[in-house]
């Protein structure tokens, strides 16, 4: 069975935001906008696909347009493919706007092929999608018929069924179809009685193969790709709800189903999005991230609580959808699965929950951890990594010269006297040196062009001051003139 959606993109776009009158999606190719997909009303006014937008506006001034979103279109087709699996075990996408389903052995469940096709058409029509479907013994024949009116070809009548269709229906390229028309072969029935060898020599092997596929002399199975696990669940409600506790109860039910799905595939969610559809067709979204992959419904519900608290329910919410856009592999382990085990969640889990809730409010890139790095340059001797995406690392223990506990961008010293300075001013405080230790010479890493290190090598001094603070100062002997003593850190 082949299903063709002639106006998939515009139908999908209009489903979300309906609009009356001629409507088209535009796609920018090169320097000009072209019509990508249009609705019935626009076609009736004489507009065609691929027409330049300026021309279309000249023909039909009241044309409403929106930019086309190819990614969304593909997502719409793949969700239709998932939906179509209610009719057949194997459903494959066919081009950008069609589906191909292998319904062998299925029709009797729906009461025959006729009834199955009617059921499918009725459901798609109710969803607001224009579709043409055809049932035939071969993939090629079903494809051809779906693009030319649809219908059912009974068993064993393939040649008669598609004979009246133009040769273009055979999925041959434009040049071949044109060449066939030039020699007077306009319909498929003209091709069938011809000898194959001259046909192949003149028009290529492709045409003969397509013809054989349509007539069932060449096998062509439905290549249904393996269904990627889909981590999304939804729930529609008979009556709109508005109370926070009701939303949380609905969420708890959805979470249970989603987490079971995640557990079955050994995955954990890294982000989760809850979409709440209001009765006025508005959508509210709550999205949360996790510091570690997670699939524990109770802990996830606790993280959603704050977001759900802030949403505006309007006149009520009548549908909930929960899905995990980002998932990561998560090996099975003994994790909290219910209120009894909840009390025993380890400190790691509780810490991950804290990092998740902090990250959800201030941003995950602001929850950091210090990781050691291989560099002698003080600024690059450690990196600040987001805690959610890194593991704690013990810094390698090595005998090294003392380092300050705080590091700040170099601050120039004023009123410096002597080398090392006997007296200096820093942050509007004057200091007198008690003891100085150094110098420790650090050279810039020539393979990085770091603007802070353009002044050349640095001689670091540990200065103990009479006033108390112990500072980490440096001196740039290669820098040209001026004040070139800086404070860079402070010791314990």
């Amino acid at each position: 069975m082949s299903i063709w959606f002639p106006r998939l993109a515009s139908d999908a776009s209009l489903r979300g935001r309906p609009s009356d009158g001629p409507f088209a999606l535009t796609h920018r190719a090169g320097n000009a906008d072209h019509l990508h997909c249009l609705n019935q009303a626009a076609s009736a006014r004489g507009l065609i696909r691929g027409m330049a937008l300026a021309d279309a506006r000249a023909i039909c001034p009241d044309l409403a347009t929106r930019p086309a979103n190819l990614v969304r279109e593909a997502a719409a087709l793949s969700s239709l493919r998932r939906w179509a699996s209610r009719y057949a075990p194997m459903v494959a996408t066919d081009g950008v706007d069609g589906l191909m389903a292998d319904i062998s052995g299925v029709p009797h469940l729906f009461g025959g092929e006729e009834a199955l096709r009617d059921d499918l058409q009725a459901r798609l029509e109710r969803a607001g999608l224009q579709a043409v479907s055809a049932i035939a013994g071969t993939r090629g024949a079903a494809h051809a018929l779906a693009r030319h009116g649809g219908g059912i070809i009974p068993e064993g009548k393939l040649a008669e069924g598609i004979g009246s269709l133009p040769v273009k229906a055979l999925r041959v390229d434009h040049d071949t179809a044109e060449a066939l028309a030039r020699v007077g072969l306009a319909r498929i029935s003209d091709l069938i009685p011809l000898a194959r060898a001259p046909l192949a020599r003149r028009f290529g092997q492709g045409l003969v193969m397509r013809l054989d596929q349509a007539l069932g002399q060449h096998a062509e199975p439905v290549a249904a790709e393996a269904d990627a696990p889909h981590f999304g669940v939804r729930m529609t409600l008979p009556e709109p709800i508005g109370l926070q506790s009701d939303v949380m109860a609905g969420l708890a039910r959805l979470l249970e189903r989603l987490c079971a799905k995640l557990a079955a595939t050994h995955m954990g969610a890294r982000r989760m999005r809850l979409e709440l559809r209001r009765v006025d067709r508005g959508t509210v979204e709550v999205e949360i991230g996790f510091a570690r992959p997670m699939r524990d419904p109770i802990r996830i519900a606790a993280l959603f609580a704050k977001g759900v608290d802030e949403i505006d329910a309007g006149f009520g919410i009548d549908a909930l959808r929960l899905f995990a856009p980002i998932t990561e592999a998560m090996v099975p382990e003994q994790i909290g699965g219910g209120p009894m085990i909840r009390a025993k969640t380890g400190p790691d889990d509780a810490l991950a929950d804290l990092l998740s809730s902090l990250g959800n409010r201030i941003g995950f890139e602001r929850v950091q951890r210090l990781l050691p790095a291989q560099s002698l340059i003080p600024e690059r001797s450690f990196i600040l990594a987001p805690a959610a995406y890194s593991e704690a690392e013990a810094s390698p223990h090595q005998a090294r010269p003392a380092r300050p506990i705080t590091l700040f961008p170099p601050e120039p010293l004023a009123a410096v006297s002597g080398t090392p300075p006997a007296r200096f001013r820093w942050r509007r405080m004057s200091f007198t040196t008690l003891r100085a230790k150094g110098p420790e010479r650090l050279t810039p890493e020539w393979w990085f062009d770091d603007p802070a290190w353009r002044s050349g090598l640095r001689d670091y001094w540990r200065i103990e001051t009479q006033e108390g603070p112990r500072l980490w100062l440096f001196f740039t002997p290669q820098a040209p003139g001026g004040t070139n003593w800086y404070a860079h850190g402070e010791f314990l």
Binding site: L351, R361, S381, A392, A394, F408, L492
Partner: protein, 196 residues
């Protein structure tokens, strides 16, 4: 007396499940000293625009792996982060550097959060920017040491809700939890001093 029993025996130990404050130039040293006395993960809340970062190689052994730096933007987010971290049980010590003076409400809320999560908090405040709700307040100043590379810290307890005030000078180099008290001997029963 009940209150006296709850007070820690070592004068430099912070009372658990309460929020404390430290001010003065040596407040970060005081925080790191307390870090060595608290096990478990550490949370250090630092406003995102503060240029002074802890340097991993300079921190005492083993602290770097436990440390989580939280760098929120704005004072409200900072206080929220501190409260959230205090409420969470597995954290050993929460250190925060608020920029503005802590209001009485904020201080009280943090105390309640610390009691709920049984977590100790330490706020590194500017001079006279603390809250009255704090359990103890420490004034920390570094002092010039008598011998090279010795680090003297003069820590004085200037506010204490359940106990006496006091001054301590100690020598601590950051390498271990051991300290060397260099305060001069005092009378065993000193009269309680009131806060200035």
């Amino acid at each position: 007396m009940l209150l006296r029993d709850m007070a820690p025996s070592d004068p430099l130990t912070l009372l658990r499940a309460r929020v404390h404050e430290a001010e003065g130039r040596g407040r970060r040293a005081f925080a790191l000293f307390q870090v060595a006395r608290h096990l478990g993960p550490l949370v250090w809340v630092l406003p995102s625009h503060v240029p002074e970062l802890p340097m991993l190689n300079g921190l005492p052994e083993g602290v770097g792996a436990r440390l989580h730096l939280i760098r929120p933007e704005g004072e409200v987010d900072l206080l929220w982060c501190v409260e959230e971290a205090l409420r969470s049980a597995p954290i050993g010590l929460v250190i925060a550097e608020p920029e503005k003076p802590l209001s009485l409400t904020a201080g009280r809320r943090l105390q309640l959060a610390a009691e709920a999560g049984r977590t100790t908090g330490l706020m590194l405040t500017r001079q006279d920017a603390g809250s009255n709700a704090t359990e103890t307040r420490w004034l920390c100043e570094p002092k010039a040491g008598p011998k090279p590379d010795s680090t003297l810290h003069a820590w004085s307890l200037i506010k204490n809700k359940r106990g006496t005030l006091g001054d301590w000078t100690l020598d601590w180099n950051g390498a271990s939890a051991h300290v060397h008290m260099v305060s001069e001997a005092r009378e065993r029963c000193e009269p309680a001093r009131t806060a200035q």
